[in-house]
């Protein structure tokens, strides 16, 4: 199976601090890979590197066949990131935010209503982002990733802030991903929930990936 992500001795600097200090990582198509590790380990930085949002300082990085040092845009087109922030506009409604992302990614916005239903955002679909509660925002963030129908789904602590119902929806989405042709790379501190989903787990610590824990290699 082809490699979706391939990192070799990848180093990323935040300011002058090596948030990633030489990471090696292979992610295979169809995997659900869990990144676990303590606060400040570099999980968020790793996901942002793969998404092409922070630059590579040294080493090699290939995502969806594109070399990140040469061409970040073509990889970005086919992946989606749910980060600590929502990437949404405060003055647009839930529906408008989703439609904008869908159309900007080249779609026609036809899946927006289905996504709103799937995420249980029906009641707040016409409320602007600025008025949403923390959990409603997390659901919307998940929605903006789904409407793009990505090949690679990057999730940064997707459980945080979601209620039981939201977690069930998240579980269902991630579990269905391989069947829909998606690969998932997920950082989480909800180890029990995340492990129930993951096909493999990798530990990130002090800006390095260390021996994989559990799951098939």
């Amino acid at each position: 199976m082809p490699l979706v992500v391939r990192l070799r001795s990848a180093v990323c600097l935040l300011g002058r601090f090596p948030a990633l200090a030489g990471v090696d990582l292979d992610v295979h198509a169809g995997e659900i890979l869990l990144l676990a590790g303590p606060n400040g380990a570099g999980k968020t930085t790793l996901l942002r590197l793969v998404a092409g949002l922070v630059p590579l300082y040294s080493g090699e990085a290939e995502v969806l066949g594109a070399d990140l040092t040469l061409d970040r845009r073509s990889a970005r087109r086919h992946l989606a990131l749910v980060g600590h922030e929502t990437f949404c506009y405060d003055d647009l409604t839930v529906r408008e935010n989703l439609r904008f992302v869908a159309r900007a990614s080249g779609g026609d916005g036809g899946t927006v209503d289905a996504t709103i239903d799937r995420l249980g955002l029906g009641a707040v679909a016409d409320l602007t982002h600025g008025k949403l509660s923390a959990g409603q925002r997390r659901r919307l963030a998940l929605g903006t990733a789904l409407v793009r129908d990505p090949e690679l789904l990057l999730l940064d602590e997707p459980h945080a802030g979601l209620d039981a119902d939201g977690r069930a929806v998240l579980h269902e989405i991630v579990a269905a991903a391989p069947g829909e042709g998606r690969t998932v790379l997920m950082a989480s501190h909800e180890l029990d929930l995340a492990r129930a989903l993951a096909t493999r787990e990798i530990r990130v610590d002090s800006g390095r990936t260390s021996l994989p824990v559990g799951g098939p290699a």
Binding site: R76, V101, A104
Partner: protein, 224 residues
């Protein structure tokens, strides 16, 4: 998807946000009007050179208001890191540039029309050569919007954009302001012949910065 469709999408989004928040209409415009009032006050009307310096003051007011408008256009991208979302969407850099610049230019044109009326009434200016004035305003506005958008992205992502942007923009926009002022002066003095070189200069500036923007915005946007 064509660049034009993408540009339309971005411009539409920015204008919709403006129509919700009404920052330009209810805040930037009054700001411009008050600046015009202040100038008049500071320059002591008795001495009677207000009408003579009206073009310069008008363009300073437009410039200051447009700094706010540009700041606002990039502020919306920074809340909740929307900029990262836009980068992920994979829109063409040229399209983002054209869309944002078009939205800003539209807002500025409305602003100029109203501020211009204000200046004419308040500074007691008699209007001649309306054609020259309109062309000047159009060319200068495109220049302002293009430069502003380009520099807006240079300053974007920097935590202190709000205060850094004016610093970056003012020196670059000084020539636009100078050209537009001279063209307005000549136009108002009924010497449109003298104005044309300035209008041409503004036109060149507008085309130049639009071209630079179309080419350079993509890479800048990706890296910022």
């Amino acid at each position: 998807m064509s660049v034009w469709r993408e540009a339309g999408l971005v411009a539409g989004k920015d204008l919709r946000i403006e129509s919700r928040s009404r920052v330009a209409v209810s805040q930037i415009l009054p700001f411009g009007l008050i600046v015009i009032l202040l100038f008049a006050f500071a320059l002591d009307p008795d001495r009677g050179f207000l009408a003579r310096v009206a073009p310069g003051l008008f363009w300073i007011a437009v410039l200051l208001a447009s700094l706010l408008a540009i700041g606002r256009a990039f502020q919306t991208e920074e809340q909740h890191n929307a900029r990262d979302g836009l980068r992920l969407a994979g829109l063409d850099g040229a399209a983002i540039f054209l869309g944002k610049a078009a939205a800003i230019a539209l807002e500025l044109l409305v602003l100029e029309a109203i501020l211009g009326t204000g200046v004419v009434l308040l500074y007691n200016v008699s209007v001649h050569g309306i054609g020259v004035l309109l062309l000047t305003a159009l060319a200068a506005t495109i220049g302002l919007a293009a430069t502003g958008t380009l520099y807006g992205v240079l300053a974007a992502g920097i935590r202190l954009r709000e205060t850094l942007l004016p610093l970056l923009l003012l020196p670059v926009l000084a020539p636009v302001m100078l050209g537009a002022t001279r063209a307005f002066e000549d136009g108002l003095e009924g010497a449109p012949g003298d104005a044309w070189p300035w209008v041409a200069l503004l036109g060149i500036f507008a085309v130049l910065y639009t071209a630079i923007g179309v080419l350079a915005f993509g890479p800048l946007w990706e890296e910022s």
